[in-house]
């Protein structure tokens, strides 16, 4: 992607390896998260996502490899790097007897933020994650989703340039997911480098600009969402009369198989979105009453399933 000497704006990790005893958690992983973009970190459970994020967050020293946070080496200058990193762990980890406002305030103090500006910043973040009404509630009484949002606000308190989010969407209701998406896109638009690890692949299609696929501790694929969408994908088609749909597809020479979903649909592999549009037009023109015509899976999910990753 870029040479070691070239300045790279964002987060760059090259050749990261980390072993826990006999387990090689991460082996020669590579990740580049440019500023202004959202980078998805995708992989099965145990692929090394959390370990990689811990290394990137400067909590864990890699056995080998280099990390640059906005050009800073966190191994050599952890304080300078940490001032620029916001990290949201996959475990909730809230101080249960403190209120949301107190938690954000004390985090600001830990980041040595000037006292005068701190209350305004706390209010701003409480508004951003929609917790303003619950600001005086103890974290104990917050729901899981609310704690998750508080955790996000906590990672943002010092306005970091690089944001590392480990499973930020888990436990969020649909409304919160939409607002998370909005927040992350907003941060990317502000020029932050955002790294998101998640299992909810359909969600990432909407959030991420690029994806890094990892499996068994290795980076197996790097692609942008545009590339993923262009690589061809399966479409699920349903019609009022399934027989007519099947007959028309056969006539058009499109190979199809019975869909995997619960509803009576067929699945068709298409190379590009243009081909999809063409097929839909053909079907409608032939008088097939199409009720649904949509990608069977998200672009990133398609990539992920194509990787044939193994879980461990």
């Amino acid at each position: 992607m870029e040479a070691e000497t070239e300045p790279f704006t964002g987060l760059a990790a090259v050749g990261i390896s980390r072993r826990f005893g006999a387990v090689q958690a991460v082996a020669n992983m590579e990740l580049h998260a440019p500023a202004g973009e959202v980078t998805a970190l995708i992989g099965p459970n145990g692929a090394g996502k959390t370990t990689l994020l811990l290394v990137l967050a400067s909590l864990l020293a890699p056995d080998s490899g280099t990390v640059r946070v906005m050009g800073i080496d966190p191994m050599k200058e952890p304080a300078a790097a940490r001032a620029r990193i916001g990290w949201m762990p996959d475990t909730l980890g809230v101080w249960e007897s403190l209120t949301a406002r107190e938690i954000l305030t004390v985090m600001g103090k830990f980041y040595r933020m000037p006292k005068g500006r701190l209350p305004a910043r706390v209010d701003e973040l409480l508004d951003l994650v929609n917790l303003a009404e619950l600001a005086e509630q103890k974290a104990r009484v917050l729901s899981r989703g609310q704690q998750q949002r508080l955790s996000l606000a906590r990672a943002l308190i010092h306005d970091p340039d690089v944001l590392l989010l480990d499973e930020p969407a888990s436990g969020l209701d649909p409304g919160s997911r939409v607002s998370l998406r909005r927040i992350l896109r907003g941060l990317a638009a502000d020029g932050k480098a955002v790294v998101v690890s998640s299992h909810v692949l359909a969600e990432l299609d909407e959030i991420a600009d690029r994806a890094v696929f990892v499996n068994a501790g290795r980076t197996v694929l790097v692609q942008t969402v545009g590339q993923a969408a262009a690589q061809g994908r399966r479409y699920a088609i349903s019609a009022l009369d399934p027989a007519a749909l099947a007959a028309e597809l056969t006539r058009l020479g499109v190979s199809f198989d019975a869909g995997k979903g619960r509803r009576d649909s067929v699945s068709v592999a298409l190379g590009t979105e243009a081909q999809g549009a063409q097929l839909l037009a053909d079907l409608v023109r032939a008088g097939v009453a199409v009720t649904a015509f949509a990608p069977a899976a998200g672009a990133l999910e398609e990539s992920y399933l194509g990787l044939d990753v193994e879980q461990r």
Binding site: T9, L59, W87, K109
Partner: protein, 402 residues
């Protein structure tokens, strides 16, 4: 700490605060404030305070009642006992002090030993580590907060110590020195607890280990001292002891009849030293004696010895006063100091000298004991500091950083 300016990123927005020591202290205070806020909201702490108050009250009341019974019994016999004549003050003071120290040693690990392991289990430790907080700030903050929580127990017991002082026989200096030493001992245990909690992965484990360390200091030092005394069995140059009052023949009516032969051997001629009880005579010989002076430092590490030895008591070596210790703490102090003095000073007729039954105030043992306690604490905290450093190089087996 300086944040390096660098070309690629925007200027850091978080380094606007004071720098150097002020910034370090500010971080420590942020941790202390957060910890105390959490502790003040925990109900268990208040329950423990109430139970504590009740226990100390009970100890005071029972001590006072027992003194009442004793003094009235002595009054019936018409005797004026020394301790009764002094009033119940010293008795209550010592009883309360001993119990406060005992309970304090029991409570302090509970207040401190899950400080960091609890955060680790709750997933909040890594969140603090990823900020600009440094391991030292984290340790200082956690330690100061747990010490404050422990000192609250001391504050609750102050009225009872004051009550003891008001009963007479003691000065305000006693209470100040005693409180200071208790506070220091609680601080040592809290610091040990925080240090152990940084090394352990589970709160239960760190609490148990801290209790074991406290037990080692309280009981282990006694056992080690006893065993060490046997190991360091040495010799001392001493001659024979003559007991002057070992045997007195009494007549049928209980009076001493000087005309009766008492069976007491004649006072030997070659006396090297004597007082009204003992005389030393004869040639010097190697006598086996435990070299307690070599293992007295073990005894010195005992929290009870440190507190007892630090509290001042009058010099009783002058002939006008009774030549034995009054009160438990003074006895502990004297015992420890005679162990420190070793057989040269305490073995009867060592070097032909009569051993004093009461040691004059010499080099006290508590600075050595407290120094060793602080050394141990500093060692544990240094290991704790290493364990909290990030980016972490090595992890304990089964540890998850986040």
């Amino acid at each position: 700490m300086t944040i390096m300016e660098n070309g690629t990123g925007p200027a850091p927005r978080t380094d606007a605060g004071p720098s150097g020591l002020g910034a370090y202290a500010a971080g420590v205070w942020a941790v202390v404030g957060m910890e105390l806020r959490q502790r003040l909201r925990a109900r268990g702490w208040y329950i423990m305070l109430v139970v504590w108050f009740g226990l100390i009250w009970l100890v005071t009341a029972l001590t006072w009642a027992s003194w009442k019974v004793q003094s009235s019994a002595q009054g019936d016999f018409g005797g004026v006992a020394g301790s009764a004549a002094n009033g119940p003050g010293p008795l209550i003071f010592e009883a309360v002090l001993a119990f406060v120290l005992l309970f304090g040693l029991l409570v302090a690990p509970a207040l401190s030993a899950n400080a960091i392991s609890g955060d680790r289990a709750g997933g909040t430790l890594a969140i603090m580590q990823v900020t600009l907080l440094r391991p030292g700030q984290l340790l200082w903050g956690k330690f100061l907060a747990s010490w404050c929580a422990a000192l609250a127990f001391l504050v609750v017991s102050v009225p009872f110590l004051v009550f003891g002082i008001l009963q007479g026989g003691l000065g305000a200096g006693h209470i100040l020195v005693a409180l200071l030493m208790l506070a220091i001992e609680l601080g040592v245990v809290c610091a040990l607890g925080v240090g152990v909690s940084a090394l352990a992965n589970r709160p239960l484990f760190s609490i148990v280990v801290t209790y074991l360390v406290v037990a080692a200091l309280t009981f282990g030092t006694l056992i080690a001292f006893g065993l060490g005394m046997m190991v360091t069995d040495g010799t001392v140059q001493a001659n024979q002891v003559y007991y002057k009052n070992s045997y007195v023949a009494t007549g049928p009516d209980g009076t001493v009849d000087p005309s009766q032969p008492s069976g007491q051997p004649e006072l030997p001629q070659d006396i090297t030293d004597q007082n009204d009880q003992f005389a030393c005579y004869g040639p010097m010989q190697d006598q086996r004696a435990p070299r307690t002076d070599r293992v007295a430092w073990l005894l010195g590490m005992n929290p009870f010895v440190v507190v007892a030895d630090a509290i001042p008591y009058p010099d009783r070596t002058s002939a006008a006063q009774q030549q034995y210790a009054v009160g438990a703490f003074e006895s502990i102090s004297q015992g420890a100091r005679s162990a420190q003095a070793g057989p040269e000073a305490t073995y009867q007729c060592a070097n032909g000298k009569v051993a004093a039954s009461y040691l004059s105030p010499q080099a006290p043992l508590w600075p050595l004991g407290l120094g060793l306690q602080l050394l141990l604490t500093a060692g544990v905290l240094a290991l704790a500091w290493r364990a909290l450093r990030t980016p972490a190089g090595r992890l304990a087996k089964g540890t998850r950083v986040a």
